[in-house]
Amino acid sequence: MSEQAVLEAKGITKVYEGRTVVDSVDLNVGRGEVKAIIGPSGSGKSTFLRCLALLEIPDGGELKLEGKPIGNAPGRTEWTRERRLARDRQHIGMVFQRFNLFPHLTAEGNVQTALVTVKGVPRHEARERARQMLDRVGLLHRAHAYPSELSGGQQQRVAIARALVMEPKVMLFDEPTSALDPELVREVLDVIEELAEAGTTMVVVTHELEFARGIASEMVMMDQGSVIERGDPDRFFTSPEHPRTRQFLAHME
């Protein structure tokens, strides 16, 4: 265990229409750690990630960011609660499966908009930082392109820059390459690997096992809403303990 967890999730539970989709899941992410969550579709891994991003409010459990409780804030009115959630979400970067870039803004505009609106960074400075971030994902030359003019891989790299520019304490990736054509997957994984090497704290939900093994400090296997196995990647892949894990890994080969 690292000294202080950046993100600490304890007993996270989410129920949809009487069905427990996420069942008391714990996760501690230390600074610079990369947790890779895998599991069959419907295992609740994406929902769990959305709980971490405060995009879903868990029905049970607690979340702490650098030791401070977040989410589930008992605000008096819905309005104050929403504002508090919004403030907490700034510190958590989220990358979606389908990129979700804003179609009315250029790549640069996508990256800079939250800096200006949410953080109140002056426009010229926000633009400078947006351009640096686009440079980091190798897309400075496409700064003025609109999302509809970018390939899927490029869009996802812009989406990563958009989340990164907010300087989040942790980055969450929800199957970042699942919606991409196979030949575009690599460029996105390269960016994420580069982030991992630079010490970015991350939680990655993915089906790319090779990639997960390469970057993860811990593997987490989910099935039917629960964590059924977790551990060091090498051990996890060479000698998985749980039969479901073995079955899943064999199936994914």
Binding site: A86, D88, R89, Q90, N100, T106, E108, A114, R123, R127
Partner: protein
């Protein structure tokens, strides 16, 4: 054939018609803007989580789509001052009455247009805005509204053109717009064809201008960098490659 081109030509150039055209355009634009704003809030109410709020918006649409606009105008101009004495004063002009009547009637239709535009924005857009830490209000302004506007421009353009023609209804409440002006001239001269033709000419010109404006607006909301050759017929000359419409510099 007895069409006196001279009368038609003089009518076109008369300050009376010009003033009438001005009133027509001003009333149409003001009413359309007010209806769009009112319609936006009605649309938000329509998608609200609170049932009573949804009902209010629903009843509004039901009432104002059922009652003919002509009746609404007559009611506001003739009946309301009987009910509310303050409205008998001078400030309650035909223009104001027409503005109110046309706005409230049109808002019912704009609410539908904006509601369907709101619904057609990908729900994940809101999620993305949220994930960046935007409040619901910020997400509405910076992310949702621009996309709603783009979807709503073509139908709103149609509504504006319809609105322009509906302003002629205010002739029944003696607003000096194009149709009233021509009718007054006809009453004095019995030259029906010439004065009607003059009014029609004005409507044609105004609608044509509006259509051009709508086209330009739609192009601004295309969200593509204008590359040479893509839209050569329409593109403006200063569009250097890579200079996006929203490019910050």
């Amino acid at each position: 054939m007895d069409f006196d081109v001279g009368i038609y030509w003089d009518a076109l150039r008369s300050s009376e018609f010009l003033h009438g055209a001005f009133l027509t355009v001003a009333l149409a634009l003001a009413s359309q803007v007010a209806a769009t704003i009112l319609g936006f809030f009605l649309a938000l109410m329509r998608t609200s989580r609170s049932a009573p709020v949804r009902v209010v918006s629903g009843v509004y649409a039901w009432v104002f789509r059922a009652i003919p606009t002509l009746l609404i105008l007559l009611f506001i101009w003739n009946a309301l001052p009987q009910l509310i004495p303050a409205l008998t004063e001078d400030w309650f002009t035909p223009f104001l009455a027409g503005f109110i009547g046309l706005s409230v009637a049109e808002a019912a239709y704009m609410a539908e247009i904006i509601r369907s535009a709101l619904l057609s924005v990908d729900p994940e857009q809101r999620l993305a805005a949220k994930a960046l830490g935007m409040t619901p209000a910020q997400s509405m302004r910076k992310v949702i509204l621009p996309q709603v506007i783009r979807i709503a421009i073509p139908p709103t353009g149609n509504e504006l053109i319809t609105m322009l023609k509906f302003t002629s209804l205010t002739s029944v409440i003696s607003l000096q717009e194009l149709l009233t002006v021509s009718q007054q001239n006809i009453a004095a001269t019995f030259r029906y064809a010439e004065f009607y033709a003059a009014a029609a000419t004005y409507y044609l010109v105004i609608v044509s201008i509006l259509m051009v404006l709508q086209m330009r607006l739609e192009r601004r909301y295309e969200w593509r960098t204008r590359e040479a050759g893509r839209r050569r017929a329409f593109s403006r000359r200063r569009n250097a490659p890579g200079m996006g419409a929203a490019g910050a510099g």
